[in-house]
Subunit: 122 residues, 4 copies
């Protein structure tokens, strides 16, 4: 199952309901962040450790999978409408991030690339 396959399924779902009129990139960005908010609600009061165990509760596990799916759905729709190749965009971003976060400087730290110890300020 490829990204393009999933996008095709969503495209049909939307077309069958005549929803293209609502799927401007602006609206889809809002829908994506609204789903991100629902995902956040599941995790907001959990400790990091509890968040690692969230899938052991069947009700929470279904909620988490559904919210991940909702975020993915709007992300795929956005990329489809904007004609962005998501896999290519991700590969390109990984390459950029490998430069911003060289392994010797970034190992074991969560600092932003501009604040990495050993990195001269731009």
């Amino acid at each position: 199952m490829t990204i393009a396959d999933l996008q095709g399924q969503l495209r049909s779902f939307v077309a069958e309901r005549d929803w293209e009129q609502f799927h401007s990139p602006k609206n889809l960005v809002m829908a994506l962040t609204a789903e991100g908010g629902e995902l956040t609600e599941i995790f907001q009061w959990l400790t990091p450790q509890q968040s690692l165990d969230v899938m052991s509760d069947p009700v929470a596990a279904t909620d988490v999978a559904d919210e991940l799916a909702d975020v993915l759905a709007y992300l795929l729709r956005l990329a489809d409408v904007l004609q962005v190749d998501l896999a290519e965009a991700l590969r390109s971003k990984i390459t950029k991030n490998a430069v911003k976060y060289p392994t010797d400087l970034a190992r074991g730290t969560a600092a932003k690339y501009s604040d990495l110890p050993g990195r001269e300020k731009a």
Copy 2:
């Protein structure tokens, strides 16, 4: 390029930097929504029409692709850490949504499923 392939690339990127310690589901949800915020910033003042044309500006196009990639990266990491099969989760959600939004009731309306005209209130 499958979802699993992309997750494998990200897993290596993270392991090479000893970043697994930061990638609790709770933290990854926050990183996902922070990237959603950066995506939102690009679109916040655009009209819906302007949002359709955003990729015609090369600088904005790169920014959009990078932010979509960032959202995808954290979504893939989340699913990987939580051991959720994203493609399966999406197929399952599409099936649920087909029930919530039957084509005859949902066509041409952006109403929430519980508010669809013709839908009796639960």
Copy 3:
């Protein structure tokens, strides 16, 4: 300094720049969530304990204060444009929440009101 005073300052700031044209409620909601994303970025990799100490770093303290101010600014603008009395809305919501979360059922638990132990399912 009242909420209305702060809204007045923001209204002048916007008027002096002829920015009312961009401040539809839809756009302001996006701006609010984009600022929420910047706030999230500061906290995403911190442990809960580290998040309690964030203001002890002067650089982070300024960043946090600036992001809180940005969220507040767009919240005040939204309420102003929508003519919602924020203080009254909050008092009303606190009253509703006191019913949803009675102290005897809600004490010491982060469960959602519909899942409170002792609460019959609606």
Copy 4:
């Protein structure tokens, strides 16, 4: 009704339920963005024009007021826990923004300060 008054009411509400244990800044940031997501959901499919009329529907008006109140509540809690003076933070940010967005350069444009026409690149 001052910001400090509202914070006092929320502090009592939280203390009566023994919820301080959940209100780390990290968790409160997540709660704030989750509420921002609910606010976004109301507006996501509206046109900018429709968003201006949202309060004319009594059901939507109540929803909007409730969500604005929820965002405000977590913003006030965050500032309280972090001991940030919100009004002072906002005044300070307005002063910074007045420098970043001089009226002669910023009038009538939604460009980011670093992209303002007439602004030399930093």
